[in-house]
Symmetry: C3
């Protein structure tokens, strides 16, 4: 029986990136739907659960993409509520790749620093969906997380949302100039930049003044970098005793993690791939990748 | 050569249900098109018949879905007219699953009662596409069919349409209350409810007064049932000497029949799968299913 | 790894013809996108080049269709500019099948006349995309080409565009009546009609007065023919010492050529299938076809 992935997006054009990654994840058929609203979810779920016998539903799964992360999360929850008894399929939400990107970022940091417990992290310009998710995952690793925005009010709003949505505690802080930035990152072990492409969030002059900083990561692929000095290909490059991670290195494990999450949807019927599950699988993906690399198998 | 199914729908989003069922019918590739009007049919047919050599066209077929049954029938006829000589492909119309659902309903009844000839049937709230098709198929089995509506005028209009479209004779009758309902079903052998979801069409009090009734079927899956007392999973359950059929049992053979019709489109080039052909194939599907069941093979 | 073809069209509905031909070209998955503008190209290219490792990108390719030939050419150029280093995929533009149709037309003529060098050709009603491309390909075979239009001004405009876009020299000529037509084709070896369906461009009375004419080709499949006397199935039929080619015979090698071009996109990473490349491959396709035919292998 064919492995079918139903791909739902609020955007008119389903993400080509996601469709290709899905086909590279041992899925036989991807059925892409654009312009999907929350109102369409019930019918889409019925289309999934009533077309194959319950025991065969392990071969059907849903991936929610699109460019609205909160909507995608709501769609996923609505789908879950529509399932009943044996009539359920695996489901994953990864709008704009935000969950897999966030997971890959934190996985990279954890892999370098090993135990994150008790460390301090600053998520610069963290008010978008990647900043939100990176903060949540760092807090789950028992890191003390500060999330910054150019406006204190906005940072507070997002931290409030994180508390409500994930029950995670993140501290808000305004960073609108170099002085505030230095104040924010002083004493931090980890700095992650999650701002929009093309905006520098922290200068090298600032971060080089902070001996506590061990890792700087930047999810933005296009210059100028959010963290001055980080290059997209940086995969733990050491500069002044700090390890740098850029978007290409993060993107590499992100894509691998995404493939593995999709594959695992077909191993357990009704798997619910939320952010934390995606993170756990991405962590395993990195471990497998490193093991293969150490064995000399560079073809991944 | 890949088996390609061109799926045409007047709706913007092609039915997920249909696409999954198609992929479960040994089709290699489904090409779904939404927002299709009758004007698009010529180009779509040309796309089918001019891309492969005539002798290879057995590997291309068209399935017309959508939510407008009359339009779908017109599209199917227009496609047939566009074919010429060896330049033709198999085609099937099953908008909203109405033809396969109707076929499955009558097949279930015939399977239980064996010979329907000369029996009396009442199709309650039969003015929609399923009521129309169930009436036609029952009449083809030489059943005397009465089709009801809350308004006599509407029942007459649909019976007129059935006469014109299928050359089948069905009697109209107004049923707007329990007294009229009792009058309609008195003496009937078969009662089928084909109304909208959530509207009870006949109470148990009414049908239990009619010793003539042998079978009650209800195509609506969501409570309250159209026939009070019928449950969705009922597959011939006996209550007060009558056999009850619900939407899930009907849906089961409907999906199987649909798969078989799609499969058969690739066995004969230019097969024209209209309602009667769909019914005949669904009847065979049920026979095969029962045979396998009797052999102890429960995995279907 | 699956061979993926990303199909981009400016039209809302991607061409069914193209999708079926693509699936018949050993492509595993076609991902069709409609309503594509030039602005979407960057994201689409990123979706292609960032989802698989560079060495695996030989398995991803782009086909640009649609109904706007100039736009398609611009999209193709923009895609090429977006590629960098090893991050590139094969790409082909064939809007409305114009490039493959033009290639097939000239290939048919060359196959019949062997060496076209120094010959004279008239492309009647050549102001559309097929006329433009046929003129370019004939000029590349060192033919002296005259392109006609009902208005001198329009013919000049298109010849100017051909000079600018392809650096090919084609002479414009007004043909708005039989006398002008006779004047245009007198002394010509080759006449190709590339006008709209249903408009006769040259009468038999005119062309039978010209002993120099060796080949008359007509790309229009629907009567009346652009060249009076040509039938769609004509594949070099001799009439009054002239060879006639109709749309079905041309379409046959067009489809074969298109399949071969698509196949070759997966043999060389980053292949750039412009008009001339399409022509060269179609020429090989015809040679292979003839060889197989001579061996008695008629199943193609």
């Amino acid at each position: 029986m064919k492995k079918i992935l139903v791909y739902l997006s609020n955007e008119p054009k389903p993400s080509l990136f996601d469709l290709i990654v899905a086909y590279d994840s041992d899925v036989d058929v991807v059925l892409p739907y654009g312009d999907i609203s929350k109102d369409d979810i019930t019918d889409m779920v019925y289309g999934c659960i009533f077309t194959r016998r319950p025991k065969k539903l392990i071969n059907t799964a849903i991936l929610i993409g699109g460019n609205d992360s909160d909507l995608a999360d709501k769609m996923m929850k609505k789908a879950k509520k529509t399932f009943f008894g044996d009539f359920k399929v695996s489901i994953m939400a990864d709008p704009n790749g935000n969950s897999t990107t966030s997971a890959a970022t934190v996985v990279k940091i954890k892999d370098k620093l090993e135990d994150l417990k008790g460390m301090k992290a600053v998520v610069l310009a963290g008010t978008g969906p990647v900043g939100e998710r990176v903060s949540v995952l760092l807090h789950r690793e028992r890191v003390n997380v500060t999330l910054t925005s150019r406006k204190q009010e906005k940072a507070e709003k997002v931290c409030g949302k994180i508390k409500e949505k994930y029950d995670r505690n993140v501290s808000p802080k305004q960073v609108s100039n170099d002085a505030e930035c230095l104040e924010a990152v002083k004493g931090a072990d980890i700095v992650v930049a999650t701002g929009k492409a093309g905006i520098q969030l922290i200068s090298k002059e600032v971060w080089s003044q902070c001996p506590s900083i061990k890792v700087l990561a930047d999810v933005n692929a296009y210059p100028p970098a959010g963290v001055e000095g980080v290059e997209a290909a940086d995969d733990g490059r050491e500069v002044d005793g700090k390890y740098l991670f850029g978007a290409v290195a993060i993107g590499d494990i992100k894509t691998k993690g995404m493939r593995d999450v999709i594959r695992k949807m077909y191993e357990e019927k009704g798997a619910y791939m939320d952010l934390e599950k995606i993170y756990d699988i991405t962590w395993e993906s990195l471990a497998v990748k490193k093991e293969r690399y150490e064995k000399g198998d560079k073809i991944m």
